[in-house]
Each structure stands twice: as C-alpha cells, then as structure tokens.
Symmetry: C4
Subunit: 279 residues, 4 copies
C-alpha cells in the first residue's frame, strides 16, 4: 500500500527533495550537502587577503553558480511542498531563503563583509540532511536534556556571572593598569578568559596578590565545570530512558497502539502509521 | 480562600515586593532586575579610562539615581516585611544595604576604587529574583550535591595542592630563573596555570627536562578533572532522586499527607498548604 | 588437555609470539615493547637539530639494528601464523610491515622527513601488547560507547561547526585585520582555538565588541563540553552493563552454556572453551 | 568499657598523637597542621630572590625551629607507637623522617635547591590529619574507582600517546622550524600542550595546513576528555554503591554481624568493635 503508481510529478519531486528514504532522495541529499559545503568554502576563500583579480573573478562566478542553484532548489521546494506557505515561514524555509538573497542584494549594495555573514548561515542547511530518524532522536534527547536542565543551568550561569563580576572588580583593585587591568569591564574580560581556562595571556597578573587571587579563580574554574557536566549527564540519562518507552501512536486500521519507536507500519495489519516527526 | 478582600496597604506591598506569583509582583521583579543590571553597567563604565568630564558627570548622576531608588526599595522592604529585624539581619537584607551605602560613604571618603568593589555586590541581588520554585529546587539540588561531596572534594583539593607543591619545587630545580621560574611560589603559580589548563604562556619551560615534566603535569591536569566531575554527577543524581520523593506536608483541613512536591493546595479538600520555602 | 607434548617448532613459536599467557610469551612482549619504544626514541633524537656527525652515525646504526630486528620478527610472524595471508592483510600485519619498510626505502629515496612520519606508526604496535583480556574488554567498552553515541556526537559536531562558522564570520566583521582576523578562515581558526579553551593568544580580540563576543563564545565553549561528556557517560554505563552479562558460549564437551565472561575452561567438564577474541 | 583509668603515659600520648577522636587529639592535629603549613610557607619565602640578609637569617632560624619541632614529634611517635619498627617503615613514617632530615643534611652539604625539594614533601603530612572516617571513605572510593578503571585508562593513555606521536610527526613535516617546530620531540610537546587545551602559545602553527591540522587536534582534545570522565563517573558510582553495603564485622561479644559502616560499638551488647582501618 506504500507505492502509488500514478503519482504526479509534484509528488515524485516531493519524495526526492523532502524525504530521505529513497535512493533518489539520498542522492539528492548528498549532492545538496556537497553544494552547501562547496559554497561555504568558496565564500571563505573570497575573504582571503591578497587574491589575484583572476582568482577573485572565478570565485565570484562560482558564488553566482551556487546562488542560482539554491534559488532553483528553493523555488522547487515552494512548488512541491504540501503547504508552501507553511514551508516558507518554517525555520528551514527562512534559512533557505537567506542562503540565496545576499548575492542578489550585493548587486545593489556592495557591502561585502556583512553579506558574507548572512551567507555563512548556509552551514545550518546541513542540519536538514541529518533529519534521519537516528539523528532526530539524538538531537531530541539533547534538546530535552537542555530543556529539563534550564533552571539549574540558569542558577549556574548567574553564579558564574557574579563570580566574574566580584573577582574582576577585586582584580581591578589589586593590579594596576600597567598589567592590562585598565577598567572593571577589562578585568571582567580577563576573569572570563581565566575562569573558562582559555588563558590567552594578553592580560595576566604580575603582582603577588594578583597571582594568588588568579590561582584561586583558576582552581575554581577548573572545578566548577563539574557542575554543568553532572547536570547534563543526569538529564541525558532521563531523556534516553524516556525515549526508549514504546511509541504512543494508534493504528488507524486495527487500533493497535503498542508500536516500537521506529515502527513505520502497523505490525498487525501493515497499515502505514502517521509519521513520527510530523513537521 | 486565597484572596482576602480587605488587606492593608502594607500587605498589598508585601505581596508585590516579596512574592513572585502575581502580575504586579512579576512586573516589580522585572523592573528591579533592569535597575540592578543598569546600575552595575553604569559602575563599570565609570571605571573606563579616558572619559570626558561630561560623561563622568552623567554617570555620577545616574549612580545617585540608582542609589536613591535602592534606598527607597530597602526602606519599603523594611516597612512591609513580616519581621523587619529578621529581614535586616538576613543575607539579602545585608546585600540590599550594601548596595546603597557605598555611594553615601563616597561623599565622606573619596576612595572610589574600593567602593566600586562593594557596589559590585549588587549583582547578587539578581539571585533574589530567581526565588521561584523551580530555581530554588535547582539551587537546592546543587547545594545538596556540593554538601554531600565535600569530603571527597577536600581529599581531591589536597591532592592537587600536594601535586602543585611537588611539581612546582621540582620545576624550580630543573628550570633556571631565566625562563621565569624565579622562586618556588612562582613555580607553583606556573604549576596551577598549567594543571588547570589555563596556560597563559607568560612563564613556560624552555629546557628539555622542564618540558618533559610539564607534559606529564598537563596530561595529569587534563585527566584528573574527571574525578570531581564523576563525584558531582553521582551526587547530583542522588540529590535529584531525593527531590522527586513526595512532599512530607500534612493538610490542616483533612489530614492528607501524600502531596506532590509542587502542590500548593490539598488535592482532596482544596485547603491552602503551608508554603514550601517558608522563609 | 591444554598442553600437547609433541608440538612442532612453529607451534611453539606461535605461542611465544602471538599469545600472552606463557612466561616466554610475556618475556617476548616485554622485549618487543622495549624495542618499539627505543626505536621511536632513536627516531625522535634523529630529528633534533645540531647533532654532531658521530651522533648522527650512531643513531643511523641503531635505526638499522631495529629495522632488521622488526624485519626478522615480521618474517617469523608470517611463518608461524595460522593463516599467514590473513595476518599479512590484517591491521597489525600492515602496521608491522610499515614499521620496517621506510628504512629500506630511504636507501633509494633520501626524503627523511616524510619517512620519519611513517616510522612513527610503530607506536601503534604497542597496542598489540595490550591484547590481554582486561584491556580488550576495556577497549571494547570504549569502542561500543563511541559507536552507540555516534548519532548524538554527529549532531554535536555539526552544532559546533555551525557555531564556529557563524562566530568566526561575525568576528571577521567586528575586528579588523590588525588584530589578526585577516580572513574568515583565520577567524574560524581563532573561534576553534577559543571554543576548545586552548587559547594560544596569537590572535585575540582588541575591540570592546570583539571581547564581548569572545566572552560569550568562551562561556559557551566552557559549558557545551558537558554535552559529549554526558553522552559518553551514559553509553559507557550501558556498554559496561552489557559486558557484565554471562558469556554466550557453549561448551563442546557437555553443552553447558552459562560461563562467566572470563572463563577459559568449562566449569563442569574442564574442556577448553573457544577463545573469546578469536582472531 | 572504653576508658581504662590506669593507662601509662605512653598510652595517653598515643591517643593524643595517633587518634583524632579526643579533644587533646584534635588540638594536636590543629597545632600540627599549622606547623606544617607554616614551615612550607617559610621554605617558599626562603626561595624568593632579593631577600635582605636579615630576612634570610630570620627564615633560617624559623626553619630550624620547625625542624626541631618535627624531630621531637618523630621521636615521640617512634616511642609511643604500638609497633615502632612498623611505623618507621610505613609510608607516613618515611615522610615524617624526610620532613626533618634535609635541614640536618644542609649543615654538611650546602645544596639548598635540591634539599628544598625534599622538604616540600612535608605537605603530604597534611593527609594524615584527614584520617577521619569520612575522608578515609572518600579517599577509599576515589582509590577504588581509579583501580577499577586502570585498564580502560591505560587504553586511553596509549591512544593519547599514539595521537600525540602521529600528529607531532605530521606537524614537524607540515610546519618549518621557523614556527618553533624544530624537531619531532618539540612537535610532540606542542601536540600535548594543544591536546590538553593548555595552549601556552610559545609554539603555534602559522601555515594554513598546520592550522587546519591543529584545529582537528583541538576539537579532538576538547572531545576525548569525555572518555576518562565517563569512565570515572561509572566507577565512582560502583564504588559508592559498594561502600554503602553494611559492614562485614562480627562482634566478639555477641556474634552480631550486621553493623552500620560507621559503627564503633556493637548495637546489641555495646562491645567495642575492632577499628575499621586497622592500619
């Protein structure tokens, strides 16, 4: 009952573009991912200083090639989507549009730097390709864990901010402007660089008191990373357990409801079950 | 039974200022958080070097505006608190007072740098706004996990201190003062910077033996972070499990005692249950 | 039934070279690990600048000594393996061959730097020595945990790449080329250095906006390490639980099947059980 | 039955010096910890460059004061220990001896730097004070977790070493000696500094290929910390569960065996139970 012989071209294209479970659909996905990554690489090369005019012209032509490709793809998605307006207003619909617009805008306004920034959002289109069941489940578990731990994480972040503000101010008092601690915001920037164990070294304490205070902050920063890690571990475990419960969907044909999470067809009557991630 | 029509102004203000579950109370919270963060930003700008006299005067006037605002707020809290003396001696009562005092003190003593430090404690007032049930629970779990793991954490910290003392002394022996290892305390400062993976690079080994020793310390520092992380994860899990037990409160109306943790009313007779965080 | 008196020399050597449970086999393992590590140390010394011609000649002679030793070992393994062709095509067979070839090739082509690279693969031969039951189990648990978490890890890595691309581009916009942000790829390199908390400090933001953005990236990088850690913890736990189940092997002698995981002989009839890692 | 009225002076001193559960014993512990930390601080100050001769003489006298104090303490421990020879050969017996010897040796040989190193081992004596039940339990859980995870940790460390060797050699090939990659050992030092996210910045890649390779190493280093963390979390959990089982000790008086872990007396007949950490 899954293959309908007399499908229209629109339906056939929809399966290729939006689905990932046919050979044609997978080929389309691979081609799209190559195009996306290539266009991002082209954009990055374009920002390199000291390019010859020829190289610049070539990259410009490649950019137009990818823009037209993505424009065609966007129009086809609009044409064959079940609800075109809904697609256009969805997250990926907007990302798809933003992947093409900047190049056209650059004909009118030459502000290259800012447009490059919008174009880099193309990278996010790769996530669409990951819309296979396993990835959706993996992302779902991570999202649920983040959502469940938001209150604890908020408490943690406010504690970190308070720590940074207090230590930053103390350090401004202790160290002079010679060592780089020229103001409280600058001291707080140093406190963040130190607490997160990044440690650029552009600003570093030079007095004994400053180094003592910095040592305490370093050990604290080294230790308190344990807190969000512990929180996330517990929440990922909870979300994983919740995911392994049977799927709460009722078959329209026979009424059976205890299907596995990855079931696509009813195990008793073979009826196609409603999709799990019904966008 | 929850709304009492003929409340006094004091009672009405108490609900606005101390509670977070009415529209007016939430609006007050939002206004307060904006005022707190603005006053901290003003204080930070004030520490920037190279400000024009006009900018300085403006920031000074803003500082006085926030100080008077917080003073009025403090006096209102004192007036409408159930037990004013108890509030004044509580943690947040002292923080509220410290948020206003420095500016008045600056009229008498001009020591700006040190007073800025006291004023930065205002950031901590943000925690008051987080006194919603979910945040209190999140903070409670974290506090309980920290408390339960204090013996293991103490053992861990003493091991780290011993490691830092031994490696710092060894490094002082191995590297000369040319590389920055001028004394044992300085070598220990370097050992902390390295063990916590901060790595400023202001002091770094240059001899072969020193780099070998540093490599061992780095791998150790990279690895032993696993220990507090493991401890915290286990303790957060235990604290989370303990939190999910039903609430041990007995309804004054019907005597029923098996209420959910977030229950505010008795599920059988609708009687208002005593507040959970009765402070 | 385990010791066969009239074994051939080939069988005796096979037990010494491939097995780890006899005194001779363990002695062979220790000798091999010493030879491997010595040869790697020799190779490293050889790359040191400013060596005297005598030292160079000595290291060269030592290199030939180890190469001939490993060649003899390789030929003996080929000779006494149960399936020589299978061994030659196995992972360790190829590593063993690559451990000897570069020195012979250097007679024909003098490209020393590249050959040193191939020779460093000798380090991997150490893993063969770890083929004791406990290590195989440890490695097995880690491999299974990595395999089970590949979908979540992929989602995580793509999120990190997107974050790096977006923040890198933003930073290229915000900071000028004076601070080192000369192109988008360079800004993305900085974003990776910062997000992973490495923080070399060769490129660092200097403007206020850049430092604000960098602070956000640092806190994010500091926090999101919790995600893969949480994932790995859950998967290692699952894999550990799965490993502690009884071993699914049936004794050829009596048919009993509920043996412990580390059982080498049937606990009822003493028959030798088939090896667990039959390769 | 616990207090024996007619104890000898030796027994009374033993309780003060070796036990931690009497008022006198606790006072002794506090005095000792103050003396240990003071002597370490004195030693550190002594290593500071540019001290006046007076300061140096004062520190020297303080050092002799602490040395004589620790010598007296050592002799008293020898005198009142149950088995003096056993104490002298125990770990803490040797540490106690090493805390006093270097100062006497310095009268004969003036090699100050090396002796300072031996003296720093005094810090380890602090661990003796932590010999309270809760700390012993905390340390026991950590030791057991480390012991249980040694096979997985060994596999992990060898993987890291192989990764460092391979990436270090590759980097030596890719980057020239100008960027600091002067030899394979130096490149491996850089690889460790990068993989552990320390990132001094004294050696950093400058070519495009080098930075690409470094980025991969950073992301790997950032991610694989999840592996030991996951291992430790599981093992700490197992060790914690094992610790919470009842104590397997049989009362000599009534034969009852199900005592709590921290029980010191039999809960039925009040008989003193044998000490848990019968050293």
């Amino acid at each position: 009952m899954t293959t309908t012989p007399n499908r229209t071209a629109r339906e056939r294209w929809r399966r290729i573009i939006f689905d990932h479970d046919t050979a044609a659909g997978r080929a389309f996905d691979v081609a799209l991912i190559v195009a996306i990554l290539s266009s991002v690489v082209v954009m990055m090369f374009d920002s390199l200083p000291g390019l010859s005019p020829q190289a610049h012209a070539l990259l410009r032509r490649l950019e137009w090639f990818f823009t037209i490709l993505f424009t065609v793809e966007y129009l086809m998605r609009l044409w064959c989507a079940v609800h075109p307006a809904q697609y256009a207003r969805s997250f990926f619909g907007i990302v798809d549009l933003l992947a093409t617009l900047p190049t056209y805008v650059s004909l009118l306004f030459p502000g290259g730097r800012f447009l490059a920034l919008v174009r880099v959002l193309r990278v996010m289109r790769v996530f669409r390709i990951l819309k296979l069941t396993e990835y959706v489940e993996g992302a779902g578990i991570l999202m649920q864990a983040l959502k469940a731990s938001r209150h604890k994480i908020t408490v943690f972040i406010f504690t970190v901010i308070t720590l940074v503000a207090v230590v930053g101010s103390l350090m401004f008092l202790v160290e002079g402007p010679e060592a780089g601690f020229t103001s409280i915001p600058m001291s707080m920037y140093w406190a963040i660089v130190t607490l997160t164990t990044v440690g650029y070294g552009d600003i570093a304490p030079v007095t004994v008191a400053g180094r003592l205070l910095a040592s305490v902050l370093m050990v604290l920063g080294y230790g308190i990373i344990a807190v969000p890690t512990g929180i996330m571990t517990i929440e990922i475990q909870k979300a994983t357990n919740a995911m392994s419960l049977p799927r709460a969907v009722t078959c329209a044909g026979c009424g059976r409801a205890d299907h596995d999470r990855d079931a696509e067809f009813c195990k008793r009557c073979g009826q196609h079950l409603p999709p799990r991630d019904a966008l």
